[in-house]
């Protein structure tokens, strides 16, 4: 097996809040293989966005890293200073797109200025060269008439176009890893479909690795190769996309897959998940899923289960005896 481009080991991260310490990430292990689209899925508040931001060292002031390492091609990003991250990693190596394209672009600058700013910082060169790169980047994301587009302001573009500009902005510096945090959540289905197709093609053309953060299982089935299922700050299952849908193992993954609305779903066979996501201030001990789990055993309350390989490329963190 190739060594992973991103390898997060035993990451612990908390937020200090008025009510106490919120243990947002609790022993997270995640390996993203080179050249793959790796999905990170889970419900609101499970820590998937925090994970993405932490890779780039984008912290709020109340963040406390409690332990672990984030290896990018073998270098521990957590040991780097903000200056080193900015100089050596952000932009040229690792880039990120966020959920809302409307608020990711600066409304008072033309697209040209925003693209050029990125290039000036990360890929200095002559103006004419930068301009060529800009046009190439806009062409790569299949935006029509890039010359004219460069002269426009964000408000003159639709949501789907803005999100593609965001990708162009990120890809202009040819990063190796792109972290996409719910990039299509704010888009309409037809625009989402166009976006997904553009992203899939691009990924093949330029061989970029994508960590795709989403809560939408249908999108996962369209775009991901490998998927990590996250629950309350830990990865509970790491599995290929096909196996996630065909034979999920962890009780939470099973529930998540069964709650998806498909063509055969109707109001009677709709699956309800009992209970709700726990609060992460004083979370349940042991496996954080145990209060909602129907296979709960005494040991589940004591130690959190670690990821175990059940098949090649398929890992599960659960004490259940029959892991299949």
């Amino acid at each position: 097996m190739m060594s992973p481009i991103l390898d997060i080991n035993d990451l612990y991260l908390s937020f200090s809040t008025e009510e106490g310490e919120l243990e947002a990430i609790n022993g997270l292990n995640l390996e993203v293989e080179q050249g793959k689209i790796h999905g990170l899925i889970g419900e609101t508040g499970c820590g998937k966005s925090v994970t993405g931001r932490t890779v780039l060292g984008l912290f709020d002031s109340n963040t406390m890293i409690k332990g672990g390492e984030i290896l990018y091609n073998g270098d521990d990003l957590l040991s780097k200073t903000q200056h080193e991250l900015q100089r050596d990693y952000r932009g040229n190596e690792i880039a990120m797109i966020f959920q809302d394209p409307g608020s990711s672009l600066n409304p008072v600058f033309k697209i040209e200025d925003q693209l050029d700013e990125v290039l000036r910082i990360y890929q200095p060169g002559k103006k004419a060269e930068r301009r060529k790169k800009m046009i190439a980047a806009l062409n790569a994301v299949k935006l029509p008439d890039p010359e004219r587009l460069l002269k426009k302001y964000p408000h003159q573009l639709s949501g789907g176009m803005k999100q593609r500009v965001m990708i162009a902005l990120n890809l202009a510096c040819q990063p190796s890893l792109l972290i996409a945090d719910e990039p299509t959540t704010a888009l309409d289905v037809s625009i989402q479909a166009q976006f997904i197709n553009v992203l899939k093609e691009l990924q093949k053309e330029i061989d970029i690795t994508i960590l795709y953060i989403t809560h939408d299982m249908a999108v996962v089935s369209e775009i991901c190769d490998q998927v990590s299922v996250m629950y309350a700050g830990r990865i509970v299952e790491d599995v290929s996309m096909e196996d996630l849908f065909n034979k999920p193992v962890h009780p939470y993954s099973k529930l998540l897959v069964s709650s998806v609305l498909g063509p055969e779903t109707n109001i009677d066979n709709l699956v309800e998940i009992s209970g709700s996501v726990p609060r992460l201030i004083n979370p349940p001990p042991g496996c954080r899923f145990h209060p909602r789990c129907e296979h709960m055993k005494p040991e589940c309350k004591e130690e959190p289960p670690v990821l175990k390989e059940v098949a090649p490329g398929h890992q599960v963190a659960c004490f259940k005896e029959d892991l299949s």
């Binding site: 625009i191 989402q192 089935s221 498909g262």
Partner: protein, 318 residues
Amino acid sequence: MNSTEVILQADKIQKIFPSKEGDVRAVDGVNLDLISGEVFGLVGESGCGKSTLSRLLLRLLDSSGGSIKFKGEDITGFDKKQLKMLRRQMSLVFQDPHTSLNPRMTIYDNLARPFKVHNLAEGREEITVEIVRLLKSMGLQAEHMIRYPHELSGGQKQRVVVARALAVDPEVVFLDEPTSALDVSVQAKILKLLAKIKDEKDLTYFFISHDINLIRVISDRIGVMYLGRMVEQGEVAGMFKEPMHPYTRGLFSSVPEPTPARKLDSVLMGEVPSPVNPPSGCHFHPRCPEKMAICEQESPVFNYRQGRKVACHLYNLD
């Protein structure tokens, strides 16, 4: 659905918003029959006018043309007093439960409002009895009454919002994306609850969503809107089996299916044009794979076809 009584009817309803660049025809001559006891699902992409249409039907917005009848009575010209009575018969659940409740009021005070406004119960004791009954029917406990909205989870808040909409004992409930701010696991619970309440209280739902898989699960009939116009309407099973309007086809095939083996193939190209200056004739023609010469000149009218209503020239060729 055991009767086919039309409870709410819109006839060429229209809403024009003036803007600096010109008039925006947000809703452009929509005909609609809402049948008593059904769940009518309305789909369409952002800006197609689905929320505006629901607000027109509720008389929260004044229409620019056309008429609306509730149980056979024209409500288009209703005055303030009449509208207040209408509010007891039709209520609304908004998308975001986090902003639908007053954060500075307890759940009790939030839920007591409709009882006070409509004089449905008097005195704290009577109102409390009603609120406890409502909360229990939503699967919440009486103790939630003394909490503030921020103390509840998203799913619990949305139940309170639904409870508030039901407080007036309405006949029609408009649900504008009621689960899009919720997680999948919570969404399933709310959908089941909504279905159960509908059966118990014999309600009619007007359900708006951009989530086509969800509309498919909950609706009896659906309508598809594009740029202010209704392009297709019909029973849910038939619509998904054989969508007739090219836009409906494109829209449905753009929906990602949660099945690993099936990938998106023929996706809809292009984007929704600006409603300020919509394309001539059929609004969909610039994106339509089956465009004909007539499509640029004439707007298609709604035609009946195998129990379906379709506004497309392809089906007017007899």
